[in-house]
């Protein structure tokens, strides 16, 4: 940004360096470029298809678990499946799933008006990405089935 800095005056670099203070996020820039190459090598369409298949599978299997109500079932579905489990608060579900090695998000997801629309206080949300597999869906569904046992419900 600067050229020479003195107590009473400073001189500045030419544009664009003049507008860039400090050390740029060089590692971030290099990492971003590599990440874009990685994603493009796999192919965005292929990733989308992979996620859609997982979501469809998860919706079908979770929807068949007694007491599960899927929240938000519009199409097309992208990457996430939200649900509530009858008689068990979302946070209790997520703690129990966590102990089975499954990470989900529970709460209002910074979307309180949506929660109000569906008449729920909170939901459990599983999200799927290119690194998830069918066995992750199976593990999720199986763990959700066991939640009510843990809660004695």
């Amino acid at each position: 940004m600067v050229d020479v800095v003195e107590a009473e005056r400073s001189s500045y670099a030419r544009l664009p360096e003049r507008l860039e203070a400090g050390t740029p996020n060089l590692a971030g820039a290099a990492g971003l470029a590599r990440a874009i190459e990685y994603v493009e090598a796999i192919g965005l369409e292929r990733i989308l298809e992979h996620e859609r298949a997982l979501v469809a599978h998860a919706r079908a299997e979770l929807g068949a678990v007694p007491g599960v109500r899927l929240i938000g079932t519009a199409e097309p579905a992208l990457g996430v499946v939200s649900f509530v489990l009858d008689g068990v608060h979302a946070h209790d579900v997520s703690t129990i799933l966590d102990r089975s090695g499954i990470a989900v998000r529970a709460g209002h997801h910074c979307a309180q008006p949506v929660m109000q629309h569906f008449g729920v206080a909170a939901t459990v949300r599983a999200s799927f990405a290119l690194y998830n597999t069918e066995s992750d869906v199976t593990a999720l569904v199986s763990a959700v089935r066991e939640v009510r046992e843990v809660m004695g419900a």
Binding site: H91, D92, H108, V150, M151
Partner: protein, 173 residues
Amino acid sequence: MSELEQLYQDAILDHHRAPRNARALADASHSAEGNNPLCGDRVRVTLRLEAAPDSAGGLESSIVAVGCEARGCALCRASGSIASELLLGRSRAASVALIDGFLAALAQLTAPGNSAADALDVLGALEPSAGMSAEVQRQLLPLLEVRHFPSRRRCSTLPWETFRDALHPRPEA
């Protein structure tokens, strides 16, 4: 028992399924609301305190009726129910002491380096100031299992903090 089983042990599930004093008092002298915006847990407590002569010839204010409505997860509901049972009949001073004792116990058990500390030992050390009999300590133990679940601690402390607010309202900031 696994830590998960201890968190959701029978004592907790019982209070979750059938919370005691789960109502709003019609003639409350004290009330407070507590809220955890991160998860939607919400607690509303109502109390009726009445003064009666104490052993020293003065007047002591005691909780003669209590209501605790906790909306949210099982830990919050169970904690509110247990707190309401333990506070009913206590003097205001003894109630505040018990609340502070419980919160201090959890704080100690979750402090860095204390993961192996024994909960009963910690409660026992706090007992003289907190007025916790052995029976009270026994009833608090299940609530202290939340020490192994950092993201759930607030679920357990919210009802106690709300009771404290009702008994000693904080000045408006």
